[in-house]
Structure formats: C-alpha cells, structure tokens
C-alpha cells in the first residue's frame, strides 16, 4: 500500500505529476476539439438545413465519410497525411517546413471528427424547435445573424444538450487515441509510468479512476447547463 502511494505521489519519484500533466493535455485537446466541433456543427447544420444543393452534398459527403471510417484510422490519416500535406504545400509555395505542434494537430483532427457528429446533433436540435418561434422572429424583422444568436441557438440548446454531452464525453476519451501518434496525454503518460515502474495494474487503474472523475465532474457541469437551457420548459416530472 505504501508503495502504491509512493508510486502515485505527485512529486518524483512518484508518477502522479506525470499523470496529471497527461490529464491536463487530454482536457486541453478534448475542450479544443469539442469547441471546434461545435463551430463546425453549427455551420454544418445550417448548411444542411438552409444551404444550396452543392453545400448540402458536400456536407453529406463530409458527415458520411467521417462517421463511416474508424476514428483511429482517421486520426492516423489526418495526423500524418495532414501535416505532410501542409508541409508539401508550404514547400511548394516557397516557405519553410513548419513543425506542427501535437496539441494543434490533435485538436484539428479530433475537432474535424467531432464536427461531423455535432452537425447531426445540431441539425436534429434545430428541427426540434417549434417552427413558429423562428417564424415569429422573421416576422419581426430579425436578420439571419440576430435570429441565430437570439432565437435559434438558445431555443435548440435543450434539444442539443443530451447529444452534445455524449460528444463531450467521447471527446475526453478519444484523446487516448492520440497516444498512437505520440501525443503526451493521459493514456501515454500512464503507459510510460507503468512501463518504467512495471506497476501496470496500479497505473492503469489510476488512469481509469481519473477518466471516471473527469466524467463525473463533466456530468455535474452539464447538469447545470441543462437546467439553465431548459429554463422555459416545465419539468417532465410534473407531466407524469
């Protein structure tokens, strides 16, 4: 027991600090990717619902392909091929090759994947808004941007939150996939700690607990947000 505590202590020779740095990187990537996914999702949903035929077709290709290919394959493909492509373009245009940071690449790759799922979540949520509310906003002279900001986004939020909460939790765990491209996040940190100390069970259990805690804290925050988003809606309990 004393050995376990020593191994997990946040200061060397314990490896707790390493795990926490890994967790921090995981959260950074998850938050960035989720945020990027939200932006892609809103644009994607708008494009799918209101865009012209070309926009709709392009978005259909995007969401279908991303959702059809395993995420690990997409990550390998986008991470290696993507950075390579950018550097080839830069060289061709006469610039220096750049070293793309793991963090930026990770956020871009996972965000691109999240965007496809987010697009569908948002599309469903926008469709769930009573159309009369959108129509009323138009009838009172709201511009499309104002309508999106003041009516569509807040009105669709209660319908989007369950799906978006799923996406956030998936994002936190998908960061583990970035271990295969050598990004130092929680899973890679755990593997390193376990490999050096040979205490596999201890470290992987600890990582499991950390992922669980992350989920629990997320649920708490999501619950708060959902309560706020559903402020105009009577509780379902009363309708039983």
């Amino acid at each position: 027991m004393a050995r376990i505590i020593e191994l997990l202590s946040p200061t060397p020779p314990g490896w707790g600090g390493t795990l926490l740095v890994g967790l921090l990187h995981s959260v950074e990537i998850a938050a960035g990717a989720f945020g990027l996914g939200l932006v892609i999702g809103i644009c994607g949903a708008y494009g799918k619902l209101y865009g012209g035929p070309v926009v709709r077709d392009l978005l259909a290709v995007y969401t279908t392909i991303v959702r059809a290919v395993p995420e690990l394959v997409l990550i390998l493909l986008l991470y290696y091929a993507g950075t390579d492509l950018i550097n080839q373009l830069l060289t061709a245009m006469g610039y220096q090759r750049i070293d793309i940071s793991g963090l930026v690449a990770g956020i871009a790759v996972l965000g691109f994947v999240q965007g496809a799922y987010s697009t569908e979540v948002m599309r469903g949520a926008i469709l769930a808004i009573p159309q009369g509310q959108i129509e009323a906003a138009r009838a009172y002279g709201m511009s499309p941007g104002l309508l999106l900001r003041r009516i569509t986004l807040p009105a669709m939020l209660p319908f989007a939150i369950p799906g978006l909460a799923n996406l956030w939790l998936i994002a936190t765990k998908d960061t583990a996939l970035l271990a295969v491209v050598g990004f130092f996040e929680l899973t890679l940190a755990t593997r390193q700690a376990a490999g050096v100390t040979k205490a596999y069970l201890t470290f992987f259990l600890a990582a499991g607990v950390i992922y669980l805690l992350l989920t629990l804290v997320s649920n708490l925050i999501i619950g708060r947000i959902e309560l706020r988003a559903r402020r105009g809606m009577p509780s379902l309990k009363e309708a039983r």
Partner: protein
Amino acid sequence: MIAQGTAPALKYTAQNDAAEAIHVENLHKRFGELHVLKGVSLSARDGEVIAIIGGSGSGKSTLLRCINCLENPTSGIVRVNGEEIRMKADSHGHTVPADRKQIERIRSKLGMVFQNFNLWSHMTLIENVIEVPVHVLGVKRDVAIAEAEKLLARVGLAEKRDVYPAYLSGGQQQRAAIARALAINPRVMLFDEPTSALDPELIGEVLKVIGDLAREGRTMVLVTHEMKFAREVATHVVYLYNGLVEEEGPPEQIFGAPKSERLKQFIRNIG
C-alpha cells in the same frame, strides 16, 4: 378596400382620405401546382380594421402572410406605408424579396399575432416583449422594459412579467403575444386567426384586448372565424372564396345583406 382583378375602386375608398398603410394589388400565390391566391387586391388605410373571412383553404391566412413576406407572393404588388416590396426571381425561379434589409425594415413595422402565439419559449414574458425593441429597433433596454411593463399591464399580465410562456394558459400567451406586437409600435397589426387555437372560455379575454385596440383606432388586418366579433370591430369585411375575393363591404352589408350565394351559405353554416 378590396377589388378583385380590375374591378373599379369601391365607394369606400372615396369616403376615406387617410393614408394607405397597406396596399395589395392583384396578388397571386402558387405552392407548386396549387394556386392559392388568384389575383387578390386589398387595402387598409390608417385607422381601418379589415376583417378577412372565408372557409378553410380559401387563402385568407396566405394573403395575410404575403403582406410581410412570410410567404413570398408569386406575383402582384404589396405596398406597406407606401413602400413597395421589391421582389426578384431566385436561381430556382421562385420569387423572393430582392432586398433583405428592406423586408426586415418593413417587417419591423408590422406587428404580427399568430394562431399559435409563437412566443419565444426560452424568454420570460417581459423578455419576449422587449426582444424586438431592444435587438431590432435599438431601443435602450431600460426604456423598453418600462414600456413593456405598461403593455403587459394593459393586457392584464403585469404580475406575470417574469414567467415563461409554457406556464401560462393559451389566452394569457396570446395576450402576451399582442403585447409583444404592440411593443414595436406597429404601423399595422396583423392577426392570423388569433383565437382559433384557444379553448372556448379563453377566447373572450383575447377578443376584448383586440376589440379595445380596434376601438382606439389601431390599423389592423384580421383573419378570423369569429363572425360576431368581425361584425363588431371591422370597418370593412372581405370574404375570400377559393383564392378570390367573392364579396366585400362594410360589416352590416356583408353580414346583414350578403349578395353572393356562397357568402350567404358560409354565414349560415358558421353562424
């Protein structure tokens, strides 16, 4: 006043020299194969209350919704406040407003009240009422709130200002929706069957609010099934049948001495 196709202007026009708030001329609306409006004309001068009546599918709601381009007319002229809404054909051959800014400006002068209230569910009543003044018309928030409180008091909802629409009865929601329309100080109020979605015992409270507005000289166009109410408050009644104006005139004439057989039958059936 309403004229069908090229019918001569009615005497009603001649009696009234107030400015024309709404002018609709030879309006057509097609939904694909369906020809809903087949050349309808209509005008509302300041202070007039125009009631549009007609059976289901006669095109009365579509006519109202063409005035603020919630439906885009296929052809014809719509003028609000003397300003003609410019239309153009889009890439699919549909007629759409040519200038988004123009249509938004015109819409912000028309207070529309819907059959299903359409209050914004994520906002309290006071937030619903100040939303358009603050965010579309640029009124200062505290000024808008003071005005909104007066309007809510006027429709009998002062103490409900911080309640969300879902917690209110249909009659209360519709009265709040009327306050929302009044908050923009509209040039014309458009009512699209404002009592059709209400329980019978709630209709009275909404009609009373609308009736008060009519009596104080608000210009309105009102699509309704409440014939008794139309007779009381309207200055001019238009009977639509199958996308055309079948008969129109002052309420005493329309309800007291209808000429058209269809109108006679309509009044018998609904009365």
